[in-house]
């Protein structure tokens, strides 16, 4: 009957092994998930935020509508060509920008942070409440390639909404504030 004994022990040891395996699998899934979520989407032109920020350009210069509308807006080719017709017009990347301008074809930028279809988000109330760009988009000024620093999901937004002054919390945690 000894064989049965041995088998029993191995069965006993097998269970914790399985548990550990599952745990490893789960954490791997999470990390992979996070990396996918925070990967920088590849852009048609390798635009460098850091150089522009160092040159003293404000966020609102290229994304002007953040103060007035839901969408901050992506700069038009005209906005780029405005400066780059003269500045550094020799570099290869600027030449591709100018080629878009000649073909008068919009540059197909890949959006970095995007909300799901059922989320209503407006920049205007956030900016007028004094939230600055870095809170949500990370210190873009320092990034050469922009990637989402924060995974913007419900918990993250709610966390901030709950920290608002008392009279506002009821309105800000009402589902219809963000669900449409």
């Amino acid at each position: 009957m000894s064989s049965t004994g041995v088998r029993r022990i191995s069965l006993g040891r097998a269970i914790p092994l399985i548990l550990v395996g599952v745990a490893v699998l789960v954490t791997a899934a999470i990390l992979l998930n996070r990396r996918v979520a925070q990967a920088a989407p590849d852009q048609p032109i390798a635009f460098n935020h850091r150089t522009h920020a160092d040159a003293g350009i404000q966020c609102l210069f290229c994304h002007p509508n953040a103060m007035r509308s839901d969408v901050a807006g992506i700069p038009s080719v005209q906005r780029c060509v405005g400066c780059h017709q003269t500045i550094a017009s020799s570099s290869a990347r600027i030449k591709t920008v100018l080629s878009y301008w000649e073909r008068s074809e919009p540059i197909p930028w890949a959006p970095v942070t995007q909300m799901a279809d059922f989320v209503f988000f407006s920049h205007q109330p956030h900016l007028s409440a004094g939230v600055n760009c870095e809170t949500c988009h990370g210190v873009v000024g320092k990034m050469s390639v922009v990637r989402p620093v924060v995974t913007m999901d419900m918990g993250w937004c709610l966390d901030c909404h709950l920290k608002q002054p008392e009279p506002k919390v009821a309105r800000l945690t009402d589902c219809l504030a963000c669900h449409k």
């Binding site: 049965t4 999901d153 419900m154 918990g155 709610l158």
Partner: protein, 479 residues
């Protein structure tokens, strides 16, 4: 001094002059069996898996597979493939859900209530009943998922901590349903398993191969010592007391799914007791039907004797009378109140489009109560099977009438509707019926159907004593 019949070996000479009653002779016949013979008699049917068994399992498996295909078809395309519409938002799925929760009430009724009442005739049928409870609850538990519009988001009903600060809404009867059904499922399965351990040990000692490994695992090293028996008995008595409130609460909560709304003919106070007594009635009837079938197919005539059917039949009759009483008290109040919408609903049910179902329900539920009053009918297995199935057809129709019969009419006649089930619904419901029967047949082939230790325990309790010229069976207080 009660003369103890010799525990084993040899045939005790029956007292010469007395002619024991048929019931006593049955029990005496059992007395002549030695423990080993009883074990053999119980284990033998478990090994008889002849071709007819595999054909049955094959057919049931096919129906279950077809039902699963229909369910995936419904998930893929959307609830529109079912027959429900506005205003009849709930259809056969919820009616069958209530039916299965009803069936599950027989198990507890037999094993817990009758154990407390020390009704000895329950001994051979407790395991069959508890198995019926667990499997019926498993089938019932499927329906809250099947009828969901977005079943892939069912986990939002589970109160798991999440970072969106979103908890399920415990004001909703559906959440009470979920809690009640899970408690009852876990409770009754544990109860089934507790009573199973000694038999698993017995089976472990009589089998080999994969069965041996299985029974060894399930017996948890049971050796039958005095301490173990003492703990088992205490556990069982605690369980039979604790499971009663769960037993009462599950079907009350299922009835509150309908009673809390302000839909006419749903919004009534009688629903909780009415549903519970209906559940007991249809559960016991279903148990009677199963026992008749199992008795014949697994040749357990020796253990499931006519006295058991006689007692079970009486219990079904009592439950039937209870149901009629509660149905009538609910009906008379609504009919007498003459509220226009309710009058319209009653009119529609009695003489309108739903009349055939209503009269089927009434005959199928009331007639058996009359027939069960006669012993000859109760103890005649074929008759009992027919009546039991009739009761369940009646109770299924009653649930269907309550669920979508009353949804077809409401306060605004502009929005009345009609409901026709579609093949998807019928296939999914067939899946659950076939699933239940499949589980039950596999259960009876893997686990000894009749609880052997309870029978032996029961045997010790009885003996024959001579008082004057009369030979009288005596019962000893063992518990």
């Amino acid at each position: 001094m009660s003369d103890q019949p010799e525990p084993s070996g040899g045939k005790p000479t029956p007292p010469e002059s007395l002619e024991p009653s048929e019931q006593v002779r049955g029990r005496l016949l059992l007395d002549q069996r030695t423990d080993r013979e009883i074990d053999e008699a119980v284990l033998r049917p478990m090994f008889e898996t002849g071709p007819r068994f595999w054909i049955l399992v094959g057919i049931l498996g096919a129906i279950v597979a077809w039902g699963i295909y229909a369910w995936i078809y419904q998930i893929y395309w959307g609830m529109g493939v079912a027959g429900i519409n506005r205003p009849v938002y709930w259809g056969l799925y919820i009616a069958t859900f209530v039916f299965w929760v009803g069936i599950s009430h027989a198990g507890t009724m037999i094993s817990a209530v009758l154990r407390l009442l020390k009704a000895d005739w329950r001994r051979p049928i407790t395991r069959g009943a508890e198995a019926m409870t667990s499997f019926a609850l498993m089938m019932a538990g499927l329906y809250p998922l099947i009828h969901l519009g977005r079943v892939w988001k069912f986990y939002w009903m589970i109160p798991y901590p999440n970072n969106r600060f979103m908890w399920p809404n415990f004001q909703s009867p559906l959440m009470w349903d979920m809690v009640a059904i899970f408690t009852y499922l876990i409770g009754s399965t544990l109860y089934l398993y507790l009573a199973l351990i000694p038999d698993m040990a017995m089976a472990r000692d009589h089998t080999d191969g994969w069965r041996y490994k299985l029974y060894r695992g399930m017996a948890l090293g049971w050796r039958g010592t005095q301490g173990e028996w003492h703990k088992l008995h205490r556990a069982l008595s605690i369980f039979s007391v604790v499971i009663i409130p769960v037993f009462l609460s599950v079907h009350s909560i299922v009835s509150w799914d309908f009673a809390v709304t302000i839909q006419p003919r749903w919004h009534s106070t009688i629903f909780a007791p009415y549903f519970v007594i209906g559940a007991v009635y249809s559960g016991l009837a279903a148990l009677a039907a199963i026992l008749v079938i199992v008795r014949r197919t697994m040749r357990l005539q020796e253990f499931l004797r006519s006295e058991h059917f006689d007692a079970l039949g009486k219990l079904v009759m009592v439950a039937g009378m209870g149901w009629i009483y509660f149905w009538f008290s609910g009906f008379i109040v609504e009919w007498y109140g003459n509220d226009p919408v309710i009058r319209e609903l009653i009119h529609e049910e009695i003489s309108g489009g739903l009349a055939p179902f209503f009269w089927l329900q009434m005959t199928a539920n009331v007639l058996p109560v009359l027939f069960l009053a006669f012993r000859r009918i109760r103890t005649n297995p074929a008759f009992l099977l027919a009546l039991a199935l009739l009761i369940n057809v009646g109770m299924y129709t009653e649930r269907a009438l309550i669920v979508f019969g009353n949804l077809e009419r409401n306060y605004l006649p502009f929005n009345w509707g009609t409901y026709r089930p579609t093949w998807v619904e019928v296939s999914v419901i067939a899946m659950t019926f076939a699933g239940f029967i499949l589980l039950y047949t596999l259960f009876s082939r893997i686990v000894p159907y009749v609880p052997v230790w309870e029978i032996k325990e029961g045997r010790l309790r009885y003996s024959l004593r001579r008082i004057g010229r009369l030979l009288v069976p005596t019962a000893a207080e063992i518990e």
